[in-house]
Symmetry: C2
Subunit: 197 residues, 2 copies
């Protein structure tokens, strides 16, 4: 399956490259693509720059769409051209995943209405305000609702990606990948060490 | 401090972008740089391409040098131009860190002789063979020996980076960063869940 990351200015580094590590190493099953609204080079605050395809040029190939978070989401949530494009592409995708505040962008499209979702702890209220009809869950490492996966903050995107592998290929397969990258995977999506009442 | 990543063809994605996330978000203390032997665009097997500076053009600015692992190390360990350059730059750097099989490249320079070091589990024997006079430790999340930090496989680079922050800024500082990215940090460098006797 094609795994397509939707990038925008000031995306969060690990939100993207955690899942890239997981899916990228499974070359026989997954292929990584980077896209953005207009294509071209996308930078972030950490000094990372990635060349992207224009989303319209790849949208019919997207099978898994991954939307990262990062400071950039605060600005992009008011970019209705991007929000409308996400809405269109979500309809074309087999699976949609968000990391961190990426769920805020997805919520803004309305496509999460009535579905369970989470976001990172530090910006939870901001994300939740983007979709009042979403069933927001504060205590979750990640959530799953049919084709929609959303994860908590930054490194939780790795756990969600492994959770997806488990759903598709079985838990032994996912555990093997976690072991290869020596990652202490939180296997249960409800185990959230970062939730504080 | 400048944190300079030495890239080469087929570096491991998360070996680089785990530490980039940790240091990159601390904009007041650290600045990220990417370099390579000749500069230019460096690709890896996961479809990631990064523009780099030529190492000679930045070598006097390097304070923290980070050498990732990845399949590319198998080829680069015979690239004596790179190995000699690493040896030179290690001498100029305040701190040197390796992730995964990056310790194999560093060991090959001879600069790790007599020092403790680790590597990832799956390629430990290969890494160890690059430096017979290194005090290799199989059971370690990461190691520290004066200015040299080495970590176990892939995601252990995140733990090592947080360990470095703890050494420099104190454990509360490092814990705060881990919490912000919702990372289950293994705080003790000797806690290694991936060691099998």
């Amino acid at each position: 399956m094609n795994v397509t990351f939707l990038l925008f200015q000031d995306f969060e580094t690990l939100d993207v490259f955690g899942p890239v590590e997981i899916f990228g190493r499974l070359k026989h099953q997954y292929k990584i693509l980077f896209c953005s609204l207009f294509g071209g080079r996308i930078n972030n605050e950490h000094g990372v720059a990635i060349e992207t395809k224009k989303i319209d040029d790849v949208k019919n190939k997207i099978e898994i769409l991954i939307i990262p978070g990062g400071h950039g989401t605060r600005k992009e949530v008011t970019n209705m051209q991007l929000i409308d494009k996400i809405k269109e592409v979500v309809g074309l995708s087999k699976f949609v995943m968000t990391v961190c505040t990426g769920s805020g962008l997805l919520a803004k499209t309305g496509m999460l209405d009535g579905r369970v979702a989470t976001s990172n702890k530090k910006a939870f209220d901001w994300a939740a305000a983007q979709g009042e009809n979403v069933k927001w869950i504060r205590k979750a490492r990640w959530t799953k609702d049919e084709k929609f996966y959303t994860s908590a903050g930054v490194s939780a995107g790795i756990d969600m990606s492994l959770g997806f592998l488990s759903d598709i290929h079985g838990i032994d397969f996912a555990r093997k990948v976690a072991f290869e990258i020596e990652y202490n995977w939180t296997e249960n999506m409800n185990d959230d060490n970062f939730y504080e009442q």
